[in-house]
């Protein structure tokens, strides 16, 4: 968890309730769980990284963005923010209809923390970006929603934020403008800006974000590579639209970890992962080989499923994310039980605690049949001689330095 722009440490948020609500809830028994808007949410976002926050309505996404922006405080836990925050929370919400686009842009810039002179100096860029050259001196009430959002977005990305909080914004505007927004987001990220985006568009999350955080009733349902988390979310949505809550028994995995559907296990369960075995074991040395044997069973014929394996460090950093699809490995139609073996010749990870996530997906990636998230922890031991995720064998050699030079500098 080094070099981060945003760090959330087991953040909990409980809204104070008005007297009327408290009195009403005293009669209903099951209110204790719903009082928490956020519960034990931890993650970090580094410079240049983009985190997607997904989840159903009321899952706490907006609350999280608000807390990150310093508007309100977590009930317990802490949020550390390093850098200037820009925000696209309610687009154009602060705009005043009777003022011109230019006046509103100056207003928005100053409110976002720029000096008046700074925003005036950038005005030409902003107007050009928003493509509002002909309208900038017209009152904003004559603008279409799209024009207003373009202006709001243009101002926000021209305030040089180091952290950008976006609430469901980039999906607006025509395709050409979206492409422009995406390229602007890329250049912001290249400049070290960390972005946290709330989104309902899973394609957008997969396309733009490195990692995704799935919130469910205020708790982290899954956190990791945006690809996988977005798919898990879609799987759950699919189950909900089918009105089908799969009845699978809770399974004890040892070490006190239980596999529970909806918590660390997601899928439609037409095909199930029965067992995971680590060879040689779950305590490894850096550089050792690791093989994972995935036992599965399919009650009916499953055509060409995709097996997925990913390794995540305990702070959410995705170290490896691969699949039979990416490796172009043909998987036949499966029926009955069997196993799949995934082998890594060297596990060159730095010392630390990791999770192995395994899953099997529908052949077109439409949903998960079975996915076990953060159910299999393992540790890597080794000498701490590296920082970062990778710890391959490496050496330093001195060459081409004259001996005399070296002594003279001493």
């Amino acid at each position: 968890m080094k070099d981060s722009r945003v760090i959330a440490e087991s953040v909990c948020k409980q809204y104070r309730q008005s007297y009327a609500v408290r009195r009403k809830q005293r009669d209903t028994a099951a209110h204790a769980n719903h009082a928490w808007a956020l519960r034990d949410v931890s993650f970090s976002v580094g410079p240049g990284e983009m985190l997607g926050v997904i989840g159903a309505n009321g899952a706490g996404k907006s609350t999280l963005l608000r807390l990150l922006g310093g508007v309100g405080r977590p009930t317990t836990g802490a949020i550390h923010v390093n850098g200037r925050i820009g925000a696209l929370l309610d687009l154009g919400g602060g705009f005043l209809g009777d003022l011109t686009g230019r006046e509103n842009a100056i207003l928005a810039g100053v409110v976002a923390g720029l000096l008046r002179s700074e925003i005036v100096a950038r005005m030409d860029q902003i107007v050009a970006f928003a493509e509002l050259e002909d309208y900038i001196d017209h009152p904003v009430r004559t603008y279409s929603t799209g024009m207003m959002m373009r202006l709001a977005f243009a101002v926000a990305v021209h305030t040089d934020p180091e952290i950008l909080l976006v609430d469901e914004f980039l999906s607006v505007g025509d395709l050409a403008f979206q492409a422009k927004c995406n390229s602007r987001i890329k250049s912001l990220r290249a400049g070290g800006c960390a972005i946290v985006m709330v989104s309902h568009g899973m394609d957008q999350v997969r396309q733009l974000c490195d990692r995704a955080l799935w919130l469910k009733h205020g708790e982290v349902a899954a956190f990791g590579s945006s690809d996988v988390v977005a798919r898990l979310f879609e799987t759950e949505m699919k189950n909900e639209t089918l009105k089908r809550t799969p009845h699978v028994a809770k399974r004890a995995l040892g070490d006190g970890v239980d596999l529970v559907a909806g918590e660390n296990r997601f899928g439609t369960f037409e095909m199930e992962i029965d067992s995971i075995r680590f060879h040689p074991g779950t305590a490894l040395r850096s550089g050792e080989p690791l093989a994972v044997v995935i036992g599965f069973s399919a009650a009916s014929k499953i055509s060409a499923p995709v097996f997925v394996v990913s390794i995540t460090r305990d702070d959410g950093t995705v170290c490896l994310d691969t699949s039979t699809h990416l490796a172009r490995k043909e998987v036949p139609d499966l029926h009955g039980s069997g196993h799949v073996r995934f082998t890594m010749d060297r596990l060159d990870l730095g010392p630390g605690n990791y999770f192995l996530d395994v899953g099997v997906f529908e052949s077109k990636w439409l949903h998960a049949y079975d996915y076990h998230w953060h159910a299999y922890p393992f540790t890597v031991e080794g000498i701490i001689e590296h920082k970062g995720v990778l710890a391959p064998p490496c050496t330093w050699e001195m060459g081409g330095i004259p001996a005399g030079e070296r002594t003279r500098t001493n």
Binding site: M1, K2, D3, S4, R5, I7, E9, Y15, R16, P47, R66, L68, G69, G70, V71, G72, R73, H80, N82, G83, R84, I85, G86, A87, L89, D90, G93, G94, L96, D98, L99, E103, I106, L107, V110, V111, A112, G113, L114, L115, R116, E162, L165
Partner: protein
């Protein structure tokens, strides 16, 4: 969690930048409020003149023409009261809804919300200031010329400014938690106008009761304006000292209360 390795972003904004930014926020938001208020009206900012002028005409007709007030220079007397009270009433009346009416600003990360009461009081001050030449013209026309004591006016203005901002802070934060505040304040302001000598002289109030009137800070402020402008005398320094002290205490404590509650504003709205 290794916080030592958090990368240093841009250097913390220097305090000089913060002051410049605060000034820009004040200027831009004051401009916004004025423009929003008058942009689509024919008379525009002229309304800042028109409404005190109308009040002046009504008060002087009723009290001098109909009720036969014997105060000399009654038009000037009443105009001072109307303007000074108008600034105070307008400031407080609008500050109550500061946070509730500026939800977008309250949600903006890093926005210095504590500047908002300054914006409202400044907007009302500009209304006050634009009517000042009219007042000076009226004084001149009635044969009243500037004296050395006029140099006390900026001090009186500063005291009223601080006093208004100091009261605005707790009112604005209270209104977020209890929306009844805005209704109570509008009723209180109406009552308070009658215990402020806007259109009568404080000396008509019987002696034992008058002491109590001075609990209302606006009594001393209106008094100070009148003694300077109408009688060419220095204002009562003792009451100004007390008022300055009260205003400073209010602004320090009020701002503390406001900032201590500001993290709850958005979730309570």
């Amino acid at each position: 969690m290794n916080l030592e390795n958090v990368i240093p972003g841009v250097a913390e904004p220097t305090s000089s930048r913060r002051w410049r930014h605060a000034w820009d926020v004040l200027v831009v938001l004051t401009g916004r409020d004025l423009k929003a208020q008058y942009k689509r009206s024919f008379l525009g900012f002229g309304w800042a003149l028109a409404s005190p002028l109308l009040q002046l005409i009504i008060f002087s007709t009723i009290f001098q023409g109909v009720l036969g007030s014997r105060i000399p220079n009654y038009a000037c007397f009443v105009f001072i009261g109307v303007l000074v009270w108008g600034w105070f009433q307008g400031s407080l009346g609008q500050s109550v809804g500061l946070i509730t009416g500026n939800a977008a600003l309250a949600r903006q990360p890093g926005f210095p919300l504590s500047l908002l009461p300054h914006v409202t009081v400044s907007v009302r001050f500009l209304h006050f200031a634009i009517a000042m030449p009219l007042l000076f013209g009226l004084l001149w026309w009635n044969g009243l010329r500037p004296t050395a004591s006029w140099s006390a006016l900026p001090l009186i203005i500063a005291i009223q400014y601080l006093l208004s901002v100091g009261i605005a802070y707790p009112l604005a934060s209270l209104n977020v938690l209890h929306r009844d505040t805005q209704h109570i304040v509008s009723v209180l302001l109406q009552l308070m106008m009658f215990v402020t000598p806007v259109f009568y002289d404080i000396r008509v109030v019987p002696e034992p009761l008058r002491e109590w009137f001075y609990l209302n800070p606006m009594v001393s402020i209106v008094d100070a304006w009148r003694s300077v402008l109408l009688y060419g005398q220095w204002p009562d320094s003792r009451s100004l000292w007390i008022l300055s002290g009260v205003a400073l205490c209010l602004i320090v404590v009020g701002r503390k209360i406001f900032i201590a509650h500001s993290h709850r504003f958005v979730e309570e709205m």
